[in-house]
C-alpha cells in the first residue's frame, strides 16, 4: 500500500516503512538505544532526502525513548538529577547543531558532514565496544568476573571543580564533564539524526562511573528531551519534519522496542555489547565505503527554491 509523504514529497510503501520501524525498534529495545544511527541511513536508502530523514527520525527516537523511559521510571532506575544536568547542556548542544545544520545545508556540504560524522563516530565507538566486550567475554571464560570493579580509581576528571553529588547514581563528580557530555550528545544528535544513546551510555559509564543500573534509564530521558526539542527546532527552522512518515515509524518503532527489550533482558551483558559493537562498526564501514569509493554519479541536484 503506497502512501504519499507530504514533506518528503514522494510515495512510499506503508508496510516497508512500518517494517523498518519494527526492525529498528526491536534493535533499539534490545540494546536500550534510540536506533537513529540505523534508521536515518535506511530512510536515505529508500529515497528520502538526508535532510528530511535526519529531521524526521528525531521525532521517532523521541517516541521510542519515551516508552523506554516510562518503564525505567517504574523500576526506579532513573537518575532525574543527573538527567536534568545533562539536559541543560544538551539543549544548548541541539540548538547549536540545528544552526550548523542549516548553515551547511546552504553550502552544499551537509551530506559530507553527515557522512563524515557517521564514519568517525561509528567506527571508533564500534571498535571500542567490540574490544571491550571481547575482553569481558574472555575474562568470564577464565572464570573471572565480567567487569572489573575499580571503585577507588579516579581520573583527572574527578579533580575538576564545581563538584555535585547525584544521590541515585551514588556518584560525586564535577559539573564540567557532565555539561560537556550533554552538549556533545545534543550537538551530534541534531546533526546526525541520532539520539546518541549508544554514545551516551559508554560515556556515562567510563567517564563519570555512573552505575549500570541507572545509566540506560537516565540516557533515555536525555535522548527523549534532546530529540523532542530537535524535532521542534527542525520543524521551526528548516520545515523538514514529515509528520506522516514520523507517525508510521513511531508506531512500528514502539511495538518493535517492546519485543526487543524482552530479548535483550535474556541475553548476557557483554554478548549484547559485542553484538551492538559489531552493528555500530558495520554501519560505520558502510558509510566509509560510500565516501571513499567513486560514486556512480558525480553530479547531484539540490533544490534551492520551489515554485
Amino acid at each position: 500500500m503506497q502512501i504519499y509523504l507530504p514533506i518528503a514529497d514522494l510515495p512510499v510503501n506503508v508496510f516497508l516503512v512500518l517494517g523498518m520501524g519494527l526492525a529498528v525498534g526491536y534493535i533499539s529495545g534490545m540494546f536500550g538505544i534510540g536506533g537513529g544511527f540505523l534508521m536515518t541511513p535506511l530512510l536515505i536508502f529508500i529515497g528520502i532526502s538526508p535532510a528530511v530523514a535526519v529531521a524526521t527520525v528525531s521525532s521517532h527516537i523521541a517516541a521510542s525513548s519515551f516508552t523506554g523511559a516510562i518503564s525505567y521510571w517504574r523500576r526506579r532506575a532513573l537518575d532525574i538529577a543527573l538527567a536534568m544536568m545533562l539536559l541543560s547542556a544538551g539543549i544548548v548542544g541541539t540548538a547549536t547543531g540545528v544552526w550548523l545544520f542549516t548553515e551547511l545545508r546552504a553550502l552544499d556540504q551537509l551530506d559530507l558532514l553527515i557522512g563524515l560524522s557517521y564514519v568517525t563516530l561509528l567506527t571508533i565507538v564500534g571498535a571500542m565496544m567490540i574490544y571491550e566486550s571481547v575482553r569481558a567475554i574472555l575474562r568470564t571464560r577464565h572464570g573471572m568476573p565480567a567487569t572489573l570493579r575499580r571503585p577507588g580509581s579516579h581520573t583527572w576528571l574527578h579533580g575538576l571543580p564545581f563538584k555535585l553529588r547525584f544521590k541515585r547514581s551514588k556518584i560525586y563528580v564535577s559539573a564540567i564533564p557532565v555539561w560537556a557530555i550533554g552538549f556533545v550528545i545534543g550537538f551530534i544528535g541534531a546533526i546526525m539524526g541520532i539520539g546518541g544513546g549508544f554514545l551516551l551510555v559508554p560515556m556515562l559509564i567510563y567517564f563519570l562511573r555512573v552505575p549500570t543500573a541507572t545509566v540506560i534509564g537516565t540516557s533515555m530521558v536525555l535522548t527523549l528531551v534532546t530529540m523532542a526539542s530537535a524535532t521542534v527546532m527542525h520543524a521551526a527552522t528548516n520545515h523538514l519534519v514529515d509528520a506522516v512518515l514520523a507517525l508510521i515509524l513511531m508506531v512500528g518503532g514502539v511495538i518493535g522496542a517492546q519485543f526487543g527489550a524482552r530479548t535483550g533482558q535474556k541475553m548476557r551483558g557483554e554478548r549484547l555489547r559485542l553484538l551492538l559493537g559489531l552493528l555500530v562498526f558495520a554501519v560505520g564501514c558502510r558509510f566509509a565505503y560510500e565516501l571513499v569509493v567513486k560514486p556512480d554519479d558525480l553530479y547531484s541536484l539540490r533544490y534551492v527554491t520551489g515554485g
Binding site: 502512501i3 504519499y4 521551526a236 514520523a246 514502539v254 565516501l291 520551489g306
Partner: protein, 259 residues
C-alpha cells in the same frame, strides 16, 4: 475510460492558433485540468485530444502533419553539484545554479523532434529537451550554455532519471491525418503548481499552428493540510509532532505494561 471521454467531449476547449501561415487551426482538449495529489497518489496519465481544422474553413489542409506537445511545470531554482576526490574522499567541489528551470518538462511528439524540423527552427522554437532554454547563473550573469556543457547534461540526465524530464517520440498518435491523441505522464513525484501545455503543429518542417492549454497539480485533503502546516506554522507543527511522539510512546508502554 468512458467517463473520461464524456468529460472530454463535454469540456472541449477551443483555442485559436496564431500560426504564421494561419491556414490551420488547432482544437485541443485535455482529459483533466486538475491533478490532485492525495495520500494514495502514485502518478497519473493525462490524455490530450485534438484535431487540425482548416482556417478559414474553405482553405486546404496540408498533411502530413507533425505534432510536438511541450509540457512545462512550475519554475524552480536548482543547483547541480559535481563531486571530486579530495584527500581520498568524494566531496562536492563545484556547482551551477539553474535559474527558473521547469520542475517538469515533457516533450511529446509523433516522431523524433530532430526529424520534424531543421535544427535552427527547433532551436528558435525551443522545441526538444536539447533546445529548451535552461539559463544558468554564472557569476552575476544568467545565460544558457551550449547543450553539451557537462553541468547542463548532468542536470537534464538527473531530472530524466527522476522521471521529471522526458522526451518521447511515441507519445503522440495521429488517429486520422488530422485527429491526434497525446498521453502526458504525471509521475508520483510531480511537483505541485501550474503546468503550461504548448502544442505546436508542423507541416513540412515549418510551424503552421500553435495553441496553449494549462493544468494544475495540487495537493489535496490531508496532504495539503500537513504541508501547509509545516510551512506556515513550523513551531506549532513541530510541537504537535513532538506531542504525537510522546502520546504514542506513552500508549505503547500502557498497552505492553506487564505487572
Amino acid at each position: 475510460m468512458m467517463r473520461r471521454l464524456i468529460i472530454i467531449l463535454a469540456s472541449v476547449v477551443l483555442a485559436c492558433g496564431a500560426g504564421p501561415a494561419a491556414a490551420e487551426r488547432l482544437v485541443v482538449s485535455l482529459s483533466n485540468h486538475r491533478v490532485a495529489v492525495t495520500s494514495n497518489f502514485i502518478g497519473e496519465e493525462l490524455v490530450l485530444f485534438g484535431t487540425v481544422e482548416p482556417d478559414p474553413p474553405t482553405s486546404a489542409l496540408r498533411p502530413p502533419y507533425d505534432l510536438v506537445v511541450t509540457v512545462t511545470g512550475p519554475r524552480e531554482t536548482i543547483r547541480t553539484r559535481r563531486k571530486q576526490r579530495m584527500l581520498g574522499i568524494w566531496v562536492n567541489v563545484d556547482s551551477r545554479e539553474f535559474v527558473s528551470a521547469p520542475s517538469y518538462l515533457a516533450v511529446l511528439s509523433n516522431r523524433p523532434v530532430s526529424n520534424i524540423a531543421s535544427q535552427d527552427t527547433l532551436r528558435r522554437l525551443q522545441t526538444g529537451l536539447d533546445n529548451f532554454l535552461l539559463p544558468q547563473r554564472i557569476g552575476v550573469d544568467v545565460a544558457d550554455t551550449v547543450r553539451d556543457e557537462p553541468f547542463r547534461q548532468a542536470f537534464v540526465r538527473l531530472k530524466t532519471q527522476q522521471g521529471l524530464f522526458r522526451e518521447s517520440a511515441t507519445a503522440v498518435t495521429f488517429l486520422t491525418p488530422t485527429v491526434f491523441r497525446a498521453t502526458i505522464p504525471m509521475p508520483a513525484a510531480v511537483p505541485t503548481g501550474t503546468y503550461n501545455i504548448d502544442v505546436g503543429l508542423f507541416s513540412g518542417g515549418v510551424l503552421v499552428a500553435r495553441t496553449n492549454s494549462a493544468l494544475e497539480v495540487i495537493k489535496a485533503g490531508f496532504e495539503q493540510y500537513v504541508a501547509d502546516a509545516a510551512r506556515e506554522h513550523g513551531l506549532l507543527y513541530g510541537l504537535a509532532t513532538a506531542l504525537m511522539a510522546l502520546v504514542i510512546g506513552w500508549f505503547a508502554s500502557v498497552i505492553f505494561a506487564k505487572d
